[in-house]
């Protein structure tokens, strides 16, 4: 396929020349997806912990719901966020539609269930070990959550990577709520979709390769951080 050869050449050239449009798109992609990831983690990890160790009515229903939400199609999330943020929607007055903030919201909604559901499973398994001992220590509810989150941090880092992967790779939600506006809300995936629809398959593929490189770089960075962790944390 000549498209592949052309794409590789194009990707190399885009990267080598630090193409300003590419830099802009890549940095917006990273900003949007990492911000969404951080927000989703700040909410999702404690939520996962609550579901893991909480003993409340409706817990098993909540777990089923969160697990199911992992499969939310991005377009559906995009549509729901669009309807909320549209001028005609409940949060229209905020004027957030077609801004990076809208994309962050959509990706947060997408990533949150993944982080909550996967961390719930990890923390519940760990808590099965820890529960009696922590209660014997006299550790309170909050202390248990903190201890579980800290001691499971190596596994939770993988959960965050999974969440980041979902955020950076999805197109369905951001193209609806971001509008793929040039220089404003155009990210890697929407740019790829646009170039594909222009029939510019080589450029689309080249952007795809760049996206792949970014994903590799982020994972390599995470692996390096993990290596630098005290060995005791990796269990």
């Amino acid at each position: 396929m000549q498209d592949f050869t052309a794409a590789v050449g194009l990707a190399v050239r885009l990267l080598a020349t630090a193409d300003p449009d590419l830099v802009e798109i890549v940095s917006l992609s990273l900003q949007v997806s990492l911000t969404a990831l951080i927000i989703a983690a700040l909410v999702g990890l404690p939520l996962g912990a609550c579901l893991a160790i909480g003993r409340f009515r409706g817990r098993s229903v909540a777990i089923v719901v969160v697990n199911a939400l992992m499969g939310l199609p991005p377009v559906v999330v995009g549509l729901i966020v669009y309807l909320c943020l549209s001028r005609a929607g409940p949060f229209g007055v905020l004027g957030l539609l077609y801004t990076p903030a809208a994309m962050i919201i959509a990706q947060t909604v997408l990533v949150l269930p993944i982080i909550a559901a996967l961390s719930r499973q990890i923390l519940e398994d760990l808590n099965r070990d820890y529960d009696e001992q922590l209660r014997s220590f006299g550790v309170g509810w909050r202390g248990s959550v903190a201890t579980l989150l800290w001691d499971a941090r190596a596994s939770l880092a993988t959960v965050l990577l999974a969440g980041f992967g979902r955020a950076i790779a999805e197109v369905g939600a951001v193209i609806i709520v971001g509008g793929n506006i040039d220089h404003v809300t155009r990210v890697m995936t929407t740019a790829i979709a646009l170039e594909t629809s222009k029939g510019n398959l080589a450029l689309a593929l080249a952007l795809g390769l760049v996206l792949l490189l970014i994903a590799l770089a982020v994972n390599a960075l995470a692996a390096a951080l993990r290596q630098s962790m005290p060995e005791a944390a990796r269990a």
Partner: protein, 276 residues
Amino acid sequence: MPDIARPMTASAITGPGDGSADIHPFGEGRSGAAPSPADAILPLGVRGLCYRAGGRPLVGPVDLDLHHGVKTAILGPNGAGKSVLLRLMHGLLTPTAGTIRWNGRIADAGILRRQAMVFQTPVLLRRSVAENIAYVLRLRGWPRAQRATRVGEMLALGRLGDFARVPARVLSGGEKQRLALVRALAARPEVLFLDEPTASLDPASTAAIEAIVERAAAAGTKIVLVTHDIAQARRLADEVVFLDRGRLVERSAAFRFFARPASPEAAAFLAGDLLY
């Protein structure tokens, strides 16, 4: 060797005197014992304690008093309810009936903080050996400088000094249980519950654990040990509480229990007979 396991309590300060007074008059006639200081958590008073699970009575009703300065072994065959009784007293299980009073008070967070428990299978945090000990000290609000010193003492007590920075999970079974034990002792609990702590250990590891328990007891920590190992109870215990099918069948000084058990159940257990 520094003062390894002495509890930081009023009773500990006056300990040796009280302790020696307490050591001999076992059994029912304990009303003559010296009254405990107001802030002590012992004696532990158990009244009409019952625990049912899945519609089946597992323990009780049990009446029992545990006093300071005595190493108590809870002995009995498998399924007698020993571990359940221990968990009820430690507050890990909620009784279905009956009361537990610590020096007249109902257990609260403050009282729980003055006890510790070691489980049959040690549950170690996924941290380094030293961090496992430091965790408890931090939890009990020890200042940073004293924590470091205390962690060092505990590592020495558990002969774990070489492993301070090693992940706890790579320790051998015996080392793990030693760590669990010195971690339990780190914050100087007044009561130490042990649930079959050596059930899965070899003789050398068992001896190491028993040695540390002895030192803790000598330093004033009340020992309550669940075991089905008659020889261990004989080595460690001052008094024996014998449980059978959830009921307290017999309670007596260890020397008397092993020489001349009062109940046929205990006699059969000691003889290694099948009761039923």
